[in-house]
């Protein structure tokens, strides 16, 4: 296989090629490391490459394959992750200066599960400082740049995850999603990404931002890879008491489910307010593709979403301010102005309003379920309502324009975090300017399988996901 053929494989394709000894784990890693080094000056997506450790792991993976043993479905697949997943003996950066000054005592459950499945971690990725920024700006390590146009934002906070995967410099990456941080980089960079149901994936050993809203999930080039990786990550974990005990479905088997029996909802309210015309047209084209696949598309009325977004903002701000309180008191200069300002705003939220925001959450989920999931299997919507802006246009630091910009970027993603529902982002097409645009499917709690079936059917009928940026 040529280097390009290897780099364009999906995770599942590469794992199959390694198992069949059509390519070695060492070769796959070497071409990935070489690609990573070549795109880094343009994209600034890696914070560290662990080449030697990864090569050692790849050699072991090849010896295991030679003995007829594959650890799991990701055996030999190189991956780098957002630098907020702790590995024993290593200090994570959290994308800034605040954070663990000492090596982590234990490895994050998500990393442990990927290790057990055979994945090989070869580095860590740029991210928004403390995962508290939706654009991909980073004032400590430099802004992360979009593989489709390095002048444009990647989205955040999983900025390096989105652009490294899109650039074929990484096969898949862990992101985290508290207000849209998996789906925003997935849409701006043209990858798939899944924000699982709150409680589906353990957060143990991952940097917390808002313990009520944080979720852990993958970004990958195909929905099939997202399904494969979520199957590895999901399930109860004694180290995270918020994880749900229900069994994890076979997400890979779900990919084969026919979509003809499914009903897709198109929201009448909120999600298309002030939506860019090209994005709206791409959403309609994607719905037409689903109609051709036999799915039914119906319009649905939503309850009022904005109060839920406000309540979600209060929860994230108040919890983040509490988590960072000691550092805000003792090391305020170690934050960038933007992150310090956002954290400070959480200190002004009254305790009773924070608690009301939590009390409202169950009521909101019930209302949303009644309005949406009593009529349709999933809700289909754009991820953002505007085209990918440039890094310069969105460089607002901590100034007065910051709140307005942040509210606009996360407006369509935060509702799913507040409701805790699973959401899959899939590329729906390209704008005339050549930038990818994503759609999102919101599903019933713990029904990631239906989202994967729809996303996979779309990718089987289109080729947007297989197009690569020219770098």
């Amino acid at each position: 296989m040529t280097d390009n053929e290897i780099l364009n494989l999906s995770c599942s394709g590469l794992a199959r090629a390694i198992a069949a000894r059509r390519v070695s784990a060492v070769k796959a890693l070497e071409v990935t490391l070489s690609r990573a080094a070549s795109v880094q000056p343009r994209l600034n997506c890696f914070l560290r490459l662990d080449s030697e450790l990864a090569l050692e792991a790849a050699r072991l993976a090849d010896r295991e394959i030679a003995r007829g043993h594959a650890r799991g479905p990701l055996h030999g697949v190189p991956m780098a992750h957002k630098d907020m997943y702790h590995r024993a003996g290593v200090a994570s950066s959290w994308g800034g200066r605040i954070g663990p000054s000492r090596p982590a005592p234990a490895t994050a459950t998500a990393l442990e599960r990927l290790d057990s499945a055979g994945a090989i971690q070869f580095g860590v990725l740029n991210m928004a400082e403390c995962a508290f920024g939706p654009t991909g700006h980073n004032y400590h390590y430099g802004h992360c740049r979009n593989a489709w146009d390095p002048e444009r934002i990647t989205g955040g906070s999983s900025s390096g995850s989105g652009t490294s995967v899109a650039a074929r410099a990484n096969f898949a990456a862990l992101g985290s999603d508290t207000g849209g941080s998996i789906r925003l980089p997935a849409t701006f960079c043209g990858t798939a990404g899944v924000k699982p149901t709150y409680g589906r994936v353990s957060r143990a050993g991952a940097m917390p931002l808002s313990f009520s809203m944080d979720t852990v999930g993958p970004l990958a080039r195909t929905v099939e890879d997202c399904a494969l990786i979520l199957g590895v990550l999901a399930g109860q974990d004694a180290r995270d008491p918020t994880t749900d005990p229900r069994p994890v479905p076979d997400y890979m088997a779900a990919l084969a489910r026919p979509v003809a029996a499914l009903t897709i909802g198109r929201p009448r309210q909120y999600f298309y307010d002030d939506c860019d015309a090209e994005i709206a047209a791409l959403m309609e084209a994607s719905l037409e593709a689903f109609r051709k696949l036999g799915a039914r598309v119906v319009d649905v009325d939503l309850p009022e979403i904005d109060p839920w977004n406000a309540a979600g903002s209060m929860i994230i701000s108040a919890e983040a301010a509490a988590l960072h309180g000691n550092w805000l008191r003792t090391r305020p200069q170690d934050y960038s102005p933007q992150v310090r300002a956002r954290l400070e705003s959480g200190l002004a939220i009254p305790a009773a309003s924070y608690i009301d925001s939590l009390r409202l959450r169950g009521v909101a989920l019930q209302a949303f379920t009644r309005a949406v999931f009593s009529k349709v299997d999933v809700l289909h919507a754009p991820v953002v309502s505007f085209q990918t802006p440039t890094i310069a246009e969105t460089d607002v630091a901590g100034g007065p324009k910051m709140s307005q910009l942040l509210a606009q970027v996360i407006r369509l993603t935060r509702p799913a975090n507040y409701l805790g529902v699973p959401t899959l982002s899939v590329q729906a097409g390209f704008t005339r300017a050549g930038m990818p645009v994503g759609m999102q499917f919101l599903g019933k709690p713990f029904d990631e399988a239906t989202l994967f079936a729809l996303g996979h059917a779309f990718q089987s009928a289109t080729d947007f996901h297989s197009r690569a940026p020219k770098l």
Partner: protein
């Protein structure tokens, strides 16, 4: 509900928690707090006396397929 959340109040709240802030950042804090409190206030007013945070987990279980 119109929320009267002034920059002076934001300064007092932030300082009371041992954190210093500038007049500019306090003005932004006040604007943020006023905005989210106003937008959520009607929904909060409709909450039943019995509604509590654990209602979210219960709603998740009920809505799961």
């Amino acid at each position: 509900m119109k929320t009267d959340f002034s920059a002076e109040l934001a300064v007092a709240l932030v300082n009371a928690q041992g954190i210093s802030c500038t007049p500019e950042s306090a003005a932004e804090d006040a604007k943020f707090a006023a905005s989210v409190l106003e937008r959520a206030s009607a929904a909060f007013a409709r909450l039943a006396f019995e509604d509590e945070p654990s209602g979210f987990t219960a709603a998740q279980r009920r809505a799961a397929p």
